[in-house]
Amino acid sequence: MHIAVCIKQVPDTKNVRIDPDTHTLVRQGVESIINPFDLFAVEAALKIKDETQARITVLTMGPPQADEALRDVLSRGVDDAVLLSDRAFAGADTWATSTTLAAAIRKLGDVDLILCGKQAVDGDTAQVGPEMATLLDVPYATFVKKIQMLDGGDLKIFRQTDEGVEIWKMPTPSLLTVIKEVGEPRLPSLRHKMRAKKAEIPVWGAADMGLPPESVGLSGSFTQVVRVFSPPRRTDRVLIQGTIEEQAEQLYRHLKEAKVPGL
């Protein structure tokens, strides 16, 4: 079984701000982390590998420094990593990102299972997994919390929806996007750290995957961000002060005036 895991390096979102003058994202001084949901995807793959003879390849599309993210997960025990990096990839929307990742999966050739995170905490769209599966013409399931291997290569998956839990049987190859419940990510081990340090990580550009430059990045995107801005601050903020009794009284009155239900 060959498992491909797609991971994304993201800015630590706590610190992302808009520059009030230039209206662009301030990236300076913002640390990069691996998208937390993608570490769950890596863990899900490692769990399968614990039980079967799976081989895991991790992919990321990003700038050259995304190499760091790949070495981090190599040190947790995945087998191989590929960096998809090319100036032409910059500015991709989810369609162009999916196009690039799908091409990489095709180039790997023998992938049985593709794992993604539920969503990336920067773009927050949760669209790349499903769109990539569509381009590869494989079935997919989102919000997966548990994966079981069945005899004969099928999978039994448990997905968490707004309404409850659904249990599906899926063939392979297929794609799953996972949530926290698949398992807490394991820590890097010393042995794997040594290997990760020395690993040769291939870098694939558009041409390596047979992608025309106009099909990727900004030029291959269907959507366009025309404006970014800071969310409007709440202007209706009220600080409630006084003794405990006065505070209780005031909050009660405010909520009554705001016609909040339940009181």
Binding site: V16, T134, L251
Partner: protein, 340 residues
């Protein structure tokens, strides 16, 4: 922007709303989107359609969609649509888009919408904007789709200039549902080729959750507790208040990690996204990962003893107090007003 031959934009007409139907009921977001879609359709002087997929769909359900402003309801009723599966649902919608060519398609950013709508967008090779909180339309008919990103720290307005339909998922409870008394609409029952309903996935079991998880996302009032509660038994303070005002009980990850409450109660980035009318955060610091899950709430009350706590940045009403003193006093106040 946009590779390949540009779609023949002018041949795409009309605004569509996907009316999410599950086990016999329409999700409220369907009604909300019809109201939002009505405004877009009026501005474009085009028809507003509701698209309804399911099995054994009844007349009241369909007529209700018209009462929220639909000019036409496209109905596909088929046993294979009884349970949701991405593939069958997506293929059915893709087939309808190919036949009828709408210029705009909106769906709820629910676990269903966010799951299968990307397949629809990728299949018809168009753009998709996720989880919008605001929609407008330019004079040229370009849908201006505004959405939060970077955990809510940034808002972005996104367009899809060269592809049709323009597609967006929209966050539930953001748009206001408005009934249009006396509005007339027609119903078109459509049959699709059996090929459309084939799926490589088999649904083995659907286990509806009667517990908090489902209740949380639907709740109109939520009282959440955090690590400030200090120990498991103290969750009773939050529960008592919740019960008194008929709210559901939520929690921060801090409280969940301490093991004081089940993970299904967690609100935030790795928990639930909620948008009740009233959200009360009790002993919760307001870390960004918590805030992204509740900042859409209409009225937010924060109770925290630390005046610097970030939760006060998002609170409509901030109460700087010791929760162990304040919450019982507030409970007392409510009871007193009710004459109990």
């Amino acid at each position: 922007v946009g590779t390949g031959p540009a779609a023949d934009l002018a041949s795409y007409k009309g605004v569509w709303v996907f009316a999410e139907w599950r086990e016999g009921v329409i999700h409220k977001v369907g009604h909300e989107l019809l109201s939002a879609g009505r405004k877009l359709a009026d501005k474009r002087s085009v028809e507003l359609a509701a698209v309804l997929l399911g099995y054994q769909l009844d007349k009241t359900t369909i007529e209700e969609l018209i009462s929220y402003g639909a000019d036409v309801v496209y109905v596909v009723d088929h046993p294979e649509l009884a349970h949701f599966r991405d593939e069958a649902y997506a293929k059915a919608i893709v087939e309808l888009i190919r036949q009828k060519k709408p210029e705009i398609l909106l769906a709820g950013a629910t676990s269903m919408g966010r799951s299968f709508i990307p397949r629809v967008a990728a299949s018809v090779k168009t753009g998709l904007t996720a989880d919008c909180t605001e929609l407008d339309i330019s004079d040229e008919g370009l849908l201006l789709q505004t959405r939060p990103a970077f955990g809510g720290n940034v808002m972005a307005t996104i367009v899809c200039p060269n592809r049709r339909p323009q597609m967006a998922t929209v966050r539930p409870k953001v748009m206001k549902p408005e009934k249009k008394p006396g509005h007339h609409g027609r119903v078109e029952n459509l049959t699709l080729s059996e090929e459309c309903f084939k799926s490589r996935v088999e649904v083995l079991e659907v286990i509806p959750e009667q517990d908090q998880t489902a209740k949380l996302t639907e709740a109109d009032i939520i009282v959440s507790g955090g690590r400030g509660l200090r120990k498991s038994e103290n969750f009773a303070i939050v529960e008592e208040l919740a019960q008194l005002i008929k709210g559901a009980v939520g929690a921060s990850r801090g409280a969940v990690e301490e093991g004081w409450i089940a993970p299904s109660h967690q609100v935030g980035q790795t928990g639930r996204t909620v948008a009740p009318t009233l959200y009360m955060a009790v002993g919760i610091a307001g870390a960004i990962q918590h805030v992204v899950g509740m900042q859409g709430s209409k009225v937010i009350v924060a109770v925290n003893k630390d005046p610097q706590a970030p939760i006060f940045d998002v609170a409509t009403y901030g109460v700087v107090a010791d929760l162990f003193e304040f919450v019982p006093a507030f409970v007392q106040k409510i009871k007193q007003e009710r004459g109990e």
